[in-house]
Symmetry: C2
Subunit: 526 residues, 2 copies
């Protein structure tokens, strides 16, 4: 837990000038003037910019100022129109003034409690998105929400879940929900709409129009969130239907918009989202590369947990398969990053050919046909943690092949064909998201999913959406950065992009039909 | 009822660009962009200024746009931070979109219903301020409101009264309260505080500090007003404790801040408030000259009504008193303007001397002593509408003398001593307020209350506070004008002004100790 002092964030203690006969400005205007001066002094606001002091705080201010000797602690926030005061607090009170940052994932929601005065991380908590009960993926949820009752249910699920877990999180830190003055959330466009009770159906119909791109900040009560009654709720803006606030938060966290040389960030969640650019320009696109990599494609696919295979190596001579599992428990399934390892090792050992098909002469007796589909036995029944064999079928492999080809094509279209860069020109390749945290870049390169770049250019970001949302809680400048990111991004619509389909065909080979793209990958027998 | 077409006010019908694959901005942003363009085109907003679209309107917008063919009627408003959308309306609906302007007087409240699209006046209604039940004047009300319960009661009285009468007003026009989208109110500083539920006690304690000078616009629900649920409430700003929003509204109505040559406006209500200036500068002051002139000083003093004496003339030779009454009913009392007529005629006929005392040789048997106080019999019992004599005592006359001396001193201090102007240099002398509507300037000059200026320079404004509040309902530029008026006014504190007291003594004479100030007044026997 790190503590930063004097972060010049959203909580400030201000000394207001006492009134005199010669200076009889009203109380509100004297406080606003002192605040404006403080913000200007500390580089948070241009000269003469005003601060909005909301009507509901006015009735108590005169007595508060006089009771506290004209010294006052205020919680501030920014919105599209500038600075505003959220709450007025006795400067003698020592209870921490907090905010909650949220990664509003389609499948998983993660919260972080932050001390707004020091920047300290006071705890984190993750929970499954309760909307899963009404629809496992974005599309079914959008369909469910077409009906006003369905929309209401969908919103209630996430808001109730959020409230339950905010309470848990603050209680674990020994606080109450009234300590939470700010909430910043980053999610994809549909999640953001559902969170706000906005029907998202036009997002998925041509011409794919969100109801809103940059939602205005709103009062906690209007958002239905159980926090300080005067608290404010901010959701990161979308760029379009397929490019959500979660990725804007990720860019903010990676500080891509401040780099001198071009960098790239990829976030593989339900979608694969890619941003490339620097301080002068940003380009983004997104595509459905995700499900295969999130553990959703095969019977044995699963998210990380004890016994899940997360590392695979195959001896090229003996073809012995060595599996690493989480907590070294007997294997029960395989996660996305494990599957990439597996595919890479199968390919490098010749058990999978360049077309992405199992090679019978290399697989030997591990390979067998069931329901007219080839299956590779990875773990025998007696070694398995489930009491059943763990199999990897040609169907599973095909899904992975499509996913890796999609990922390659997305990167190819945006970096080379659109931005006109070679991968060598990228200074950094950031991999965000839970999936990205565990991926072995070497394996991903071997199957042609990631470009063949020096390994030290790859950098794991972790949960960048959460990181960006948390950054906003302590850095007022982030507001302007978010606005600038939104303005400087060009969004490339892959749905209507012919190059993508052209590239996709070659990318379904291992590692690619054009072998010169992957000089570091030595192909078995090649 | 006048109707103005295309007033470019707060209601606009906008054609929003339909989305296409090549232009897939979100719905809210497309509407905001169309609105900004319209405002810019019509000179209501600078280029690239945004319009705030509140979160609660977002969920319905996508369907509304598509249902109405992307043609939409919006009700707008401005606040300290710029333009905002208040409501989104089906452009096919023909029901008028209205606003209510209010003069929040200490004793009387007056409302006007205005069609926001055409500017038409749809009706007016006045009612006694229900706070009178808890305190007849501002001071007792402020004392009552020191206790939180008292403050709550005080606010509830005015808000409930307002709601009852808004309902009456709109029903009389065949409408419902949901037709009212805007409410603009102008009152003095204390009235404004009490309306907003803000404790006003620091207004009357040195150094006389209001809690707020420029209250932010607020939602109808937060203000407790029964109108359209998304409606907005605006109260005119104060300049200080003694200079309220009612006078700012008056200046706006008189357009004093746009005059080339200096003009003066006086509003006699509970206080006498004076503003002098032009488009380059404005000076204001206020003083307690009012009660005597509002019909509150004598047993027979009253506000206008049937039988109330509103005109007096005395034959200088026969000393016969000729009284005019409202509706020619038998006399029952005298109103403020009638009293000024009376005093002027008494003085001009020599029945009152230059010291403001009854002259026994001129008054003759009309004058008699009762309880050691001189009384003049104005109406005998048999001619009276009350069955009793109507008397005018030396005490009544002294009150009027103080009031007229106060008024003269206020004018003298602000025009000559502070602004450094002669009265000749004033282009116009505006008289606002109900009292001002009935005053005979000739009589007011004769007793030395108003300066000795050509009669054609005097102009009656009527209820200028109401006029200013109503102007704001149809003229978006008025917001900026209000801000500019507030900034350019210098407020002269008479409470701490020695000149005022010096001037006051001479001004208690009729018309004044310095007769050269009133060359047009011929003094009896002088």
């Amino acid at each position: 837990m790190t503590t930063v002092e004097n972060i010049n964030g959203f909580v400030r203690t201000i000394q207001v000038k006492e009134p005199r006969l010669g200076n009889n400005t009203a109380d509100v205007e004297r406080l606003v003037s002192a605040l404006s001066h403080d913000l200007e002094q500390k580089g948070n606001a241009p000269k003469d910019s005003s601060v909005y002091f909301p009507p509901h705080l006015v009735p108590d201010l005169a007595r508060q100022l006089r009771q506290w000797g004209h010294c006052i602690k205020v919680v501030l926030f920014k919105d599209s129109r500038g600075w505003r005061v959220i709450a007025v607090i006795d400067p003698e009170l020592t209870q921490p003034v907090c905010g909650v940052a949220a990664d509003l994932g389609t499948t998983r929601v993660v919260l972080r409690l932050v001390n707004l005065e020091t920047g300290a991380n006071l705890g984190e908590l993750g929970f499954d998105n309760p909307q899963i009960a009404l629809g496992p993926d974005v599309l079914t949820r959008i369909h469910h929400a077409r009906d006003p009752k369905g929309l209401e249910q969908m919103q209630a699920l996430i808001i109730d879940g959020m409230n339950r877990h905010i309470k848990k999180l603050v209680h674990a830190a020994g606080l109450g929900v009234e300590s939470v003055y700010l909430f910043t959330g980053a999610g994809n466009t549909a999640m953001t709409h559902l969170f706000l009770g906005i029907e998202p159906s036009f997002i998925i119909r041509e011409p794919y129009i969100p109801a809103v791109n940059a939602p205005e900040s709103m009062a906690a009560g209007d958002a239905g969130l159980g926090m300080h009654p005067h608290g404010m709720v901010f959701l990161f803006p979308n760029i379009g239907s397929y490019f959500g606030g979660d990725l804007i938060a990720g860019i903010l966290f990676a500080q891509l918009h401040k780099k001198e040389n071009p960098c790239l960030m990829v976030d593989v969640g339900t979608n694969a989202e890619v941003v490339v650019g620097n301080r002068d320009w940003l380009m983004a696109c997104a595509g459905a590369a995700g499900p295969a990599l999130e553990g959703g494609i095969s019977d044995m696919g699963m998210t990380a947990g004890p016994g899940v295979i997360d590392r695979v190596s195959i001896d090229i001579d003996t073809l012995e398969i060595d599996l690493g599992t989480i907590e070294n428990k007997p294997p029960v399934g395989i996660c996305g990053s494990g599957m990439i390892d597996l595919a890479a090792q199968l390919f490098l050992s010749g058990m999978v050919d360049i077309r992405g098909k199992f090679s019978p002469e290399r697989c030997g007796e591990r390979l067998f046909e069931k329901d007219e589909i080839q299956h590779l036995c990875l773990v025998k029944r007696e070694d398995s943690g489930t009491g059943r064999e763990i199999l990897f079928s040609q169907v599973d492999l095909n899904s992975l092949t499509s996913a890796k080809a999609a990922m390659h094509s997305i990167l190819e279209v945006i970096v080379r064909q659109t931005a006109g860069l070679s991968f060598e020109e990228l200074e950094k390749f950031y991999v965000a998201g839970t999936f990205g945290s565990f991926i072995d870049p070497r394996s991903a390169i071997s199957i042609g999913m990631l470009p063949d770049m020096p390994l030290d250019k790859f950098e794991v970001l972790g949960n960048s959406s959460l990181g960006g949302a948390a950054r906003l809680l302590v850095d007022p400048h982030a507001f302007e950065e978010i606005r600038m990111i939104g303005q400087s991004i060009t969004y490339i619509e892959l749905n209507v992009n012919q190059s993508f389909m052209n590239t996709f065909s070659g990318a379904k080979f291992y590692p690619h039909t054009d072998r010169s793209l992957f000089p570091s990958v030595s192909i078995y027998g090649g």
